[in-house]
Symmetry: C2
Subunit: 127 residues, 2 copies
DNA sequence: TCTTGACATAGAGTTTACTCTACATTGTAT
DNA sequence: ATACAATGTAGAGTAAACTCTATGTCAAGA
């Protein structure tokens, strides 16, 4: 299947402007038809979903761009790409661990609020 | 204990400029001494650590500012503040869940790379 | 044929969260 | 007393990641 930029935008949830911006940054390079319109493929779809994943896990556009360059260079860069992902996984693990700690503290804080509110309410009732 | 902005900066890991910026945004309002220098207290320290936690879990400065305003208004806003935190916890839980899914996909991708690299290497050896 | 809507490019503008600069003032060590 | 480091304010500058505007092209329906 091939998609116009409008269709691809709906498909991916990324704005048209964002897609063009990503292309400008060499993250993705869709084919063009005879009238110079962008033709996104299913391969592009898979690729952009992966880009979204990297972004959502905190990788910067600059880093993704680097990854995309390696990808464009083909097999010789397989190892380097894997290394990038392994490093990114490490960062992701740390991020998850940090958030889980924060979550515990937040739970505690909410519990504290629950008690405070109870205390204040009792005060009101007693007066 | 009281701290100068320099000491407080080292204590919190936030830059002096950032601390002043946070004050400008009304996130924190340290006392001033007779010569108009900022005097941060241990209460400020606890507060800024909480701010850092909110930030690290994805709350924007604008939202934190709102929370800070409620906090400054005292007991009458206890419930509203708790509600904010409960909502933020919800967002945090979703964020963690999303990252865990991404982690699984990333693991799979890395496994895929491991196989690809093995395949390519075998090709080289066989030639 | 004419108009409309999607698409094209180049470049400007926006938002967030800092980060830095310029310049004045003050506290401290020599 | 003097130099120097830390602090003060106001406002400009930066980086990232979009997001929008102006202007132009082109294919398809009324």
């Amino acid at each position: 299947m091939e998609y116009s930029i409008g269709d691809f935008s709906k498909l991916t949830g990324l704005g048209i402007h964002t897609l063009r911006y990503y292309e400008h940054e060499d993250l993705i390079t869709p084919e063009r038809n005879s009238s110079n319109r962008r033709c996104y493929s299913d391969k592009d779809l898979t690729w952009i979903e992966f880009i979204k994943r990297l972004k959502d896990t905190g990788m910067s556009i600059k880093e993704i761009k680097h990854y995309a360059e390696l990808r464009a260079a083909g097999d010789p860069t397989l190892f380097e790409r894997m290394e990038m992902l392994v490093q990114h996984r490490q960062a992701l693990n740390e991020q998850i661990a940090m958030l889980q700690e924060h979550k515990i503290k937040l739970d505690e804080k909410i519990e504290f609020y629950r008690n405070e509110i109870g205390r204040v309410n009792n005060g009101i009732i007693e007066n």
